[in-house]
């Protein structure tokens, strides 16, 4: 089962990386960008019979390692049947 995790800084926590990227876009003429925040995409292939079981497993991974609950929120999408993009 393939599972996709999105990890992002909690709302209200200053994202200096996002602000720098936004400034770069401004320099490229994208003055219409109101806000830009950078997060992380983690794809996990986990042995599981059902999507719910895979989700529960990955949720545990997020709580133990993949996200830092002080700084970050995460969302989990089970993407059954979809293949990771080739290298």
């Amino acid at each position: 089962m393939r599972v996709r995790v999105l990890v992002r800084l909690k709302p209200g926590i200053l994202d200096v990386q996002g602000a720098a990227v936004q400034r770069a876009l401004l320099g490229l003429g994208f003055g219409d960008v109101r806000e830009l925040r950078v997060g992380k995409l983690i794809e996990v292939e986990v042995e599981a019979g059902a999507a719910e079981a895979a989700r529960a497993r990955v949720d545990e991974m997020c709580r133990k390692l993949l996200a830092n609950p002080i700084l970050e929120d995460y969302t989990i999408e089970a993407v059954e049947g979809e293949r990771l993009a080739p290298h």
């Binding site: 926590i13 200053l14 133990k64 390692l65 830092n68 002080i70 700084l71």
Partner: protein, 237 residues
């Protein structure tokens, strides 16, 4: 006093700490590999700076879940001392041994420079014997040293006097201009509630001899030695 200096893949300040402890402070010290769990012979475990496991995922995240850091839970519970500097501070936060987290510097630059630190609490085992208002000079060298804690945690930290060091001017003024990385309220180092785990971004091991440009880092070791003499640990060994 027996020190252990933990070595992760990617640690870079291990030899500096080993040198400062063995050659300057003149105390017994051994290296501790990150897979080791046996810390029974040690009084103080040092987590040095560097880039443990390449700092993949987040700085200190993977190291924070390593066997040696898991073993630190029991070590700390039985009163052992832990000193984490730079990456070591990040690891202690990621491992749940200290509150808060460390983020990318607000300036987005890697900062390698001398800093002045106001010692806010001179009653911890690591700072005892220093006069109130003591200012220490120690270098920093990091890209992710911006300390963050939510407002409630911050209130608790202050109420329990767990904030030990703040970035300041040379005369001890805690002002924004003296903050090299955007840390909340200029915080450079904190202790746990029990007072036996200290994390700080600056490098005491790089301020341990006159030839290095200063010796203020030694004061932390001297405080710790004094603590152990006073509580009788030396007599039991």
């Amino acid at each position: 006093m027996r020190f252990g200096v933990v070595v992760f893949p990617g640690t870079w300040s291990d030899c500096d700490f080993h040198y400062a402890i063995s050659e300057v402070v003149r105390q017994p010290v051994r290296y501790v590999w990150h897979r080791d769990r046996d810390l029974a012979d040690l009084d103080c475990v040092v987590l040095p700076g560097g880039f443990s496991y390449g700092d993949y995922l987040r700085a200190g995240a993977v190291a924070g879940k390593s066997p040696v850091v898991e073993a630190l839970g029991d070590f700390v519970a039985r009163g052992g001392f832990v000193l984490g500097s730079c990456n070591g501070f990040q690891i202690l936060c990621e491992g749940g041994l200290l509150p808060g987290a460390l983020m990318r510097n607000e300036c987005l630059q890697y900062r390698c420079q001398s800093t002045s630190l106001l010692v806010e609490n001179v009653d911890t085992p690591f700072t005892r014997g220093m006069p109130p208002g003591q200012v220490l000079t120690m270098p920093i060298s990091h890209g992710e040293g911006k300390y963050y804690a939510d407002p409630e945690t911050l209130r608790t930290l202050k109420a329990r006097r767990q904030v030990v060091f703040r970035y300041a001017t040379t005369d001890g003024q805690v002002v924004r201009a003296a903050n090299p990385n955007g840390s909340v309220e200029n915080i450079a180092g904190v202790v746990n509630e029990g007072g036996n785990v200290l994390g700080l971004m600056p490098h005491p091991e790089r301020a341990a001899e006159t030839a290095m440009g200063g010796t203020d880092g030694l004061l932390l070791f001297q405080s710790l030695l004094g603590t152990l003499v006073e509580d009788g640990t030396f007599l039991r060994r």
